[in-house]
């Protein structure tokens, strides 16, 4: 699993433009043109961001007539906070062990 070739949620939200795109369509699906209007960067660049977001599963493209609408699929973003929560638990476990150790040493030093 090379760090460079990730296509996951973390990569998706690593870029500020992509985060803005997600914010923009979080509650309101938009077509590509409407999204691009909100940014100074070129339409192909926005298109590329949307491609990555789609590959990461954060955007779903839905056809309505001739238009293609980008809809946010934010379920996966929950996984991001989930990772951080798991990481937090890992440290909490270690620090709880440290708490015990500190108590032990405090007791030892009192006896001296």
């Amino acid at each position: 699993m090379a760090l460079q070739s990730r296509r996951d949620v973390f990569q998706a939200i690593a870029d500020p433009t992509r985060r803005e795109i997600i914010n923009l369509i979080a509650f309101n699906p938009l077509n590509l043109n409407s999204i691009a209007e909100n940014f100074d960067v070129s339409r192909p660049a926005i298109s590329q961001h949307i491609k990555i977001l789609t590959e990461c599963g954060l955007i779903v493209i839905k056809k309505q007539g001739r238009e293609r609408y980008c809809e946010a699929s934010l379920q996966q973003l929950g996984e991001v906070s989930n990772w951080i929560e798991q990481y937090r638990k890992l440290w909490q476990t270690q620090f709880n062990a440290l708490d015990d150790l500190l108590e032990e040493y405090k007791a030892k030093e009192k006896k001296k």
């Binding site: 760090l3 296509r7 973390f10 990569q11 690593a14 937090r88 620090f95």
Partner: protein, 165 residues
């Protein structure tokens, strides 16, 4: 008995750094020692289902360290780095590299700050600065993969799902 103090992780999306914050019911000198004394370190550092071995531990500026976590199957997960500053009892700065990554060179700069609080309490803030956002997120994940593999099957499931997508 563990205290009720909570561990806080601050990892804003899109940033190269993360913070780990925790308070302890012990004076700063003692907490600092627990982070630098090899005998103390091996008793708390590392996931609870793993043994820890200290290969090298030079507790001074310029000193090299290498620690290894060993899981119940005997798999070893090493990490190493160099101490940049050891300012007793307030600050530790060092590099950190996890050896379980597919390639070398993904180095983290870690700064641990120890702050005295009233009533002989201490606040520890660890700042980790990664080389890129992808490094940060990737390493937190790979750290998780080995750290809590057994108790958190859902993480594996999530990873598998990512590979399929």
């Amino acid at each position: 008995m563990a205290s009720n103090n909570q561990t806080e992780i601050v990892a804003e999306p899109g940033k190269q750094e993360l913070f780990i914050k925790r308070e302890f019911e012990a004076p700063r000198e003692l907490v600092f020692r627990a982070f630098t004394d090899a005998d103390m370190l091996v008793k708390w550092l590392g996931p609870c289902n793993m043994k820890m071995r200290i290969d090298k531990h030079e507790a001074r500026a310029g000193g090299y360290y290498r620690y290894v976590h060993i899981d119940p199957q005997g798999n070893e997960y090493g990490f190493h780095g160099v101490s940049h500053e050891m300012l007793v009892p307030e600050r530790l700065i060092r590099t950190f590299e996890f050896e379980g990554l597919p390639e070398t060179g993904h180095v983290v700069l870690e700064t641990a700050r120890f702050e005295s609080l009233p009533n002989d309490r201490t606040r520890v803030t660890i700042q980790s600065v990664f080389q890129s956002v992808a490094d940060r997120d990737g390493m937190v994940q790979s750290g998780m993969e080995y750290g809590v593999k057994e108790s958190h099957q859902m993480l594996d499931d999530f990873l598998a799902q990512q590979l399929v997508n």
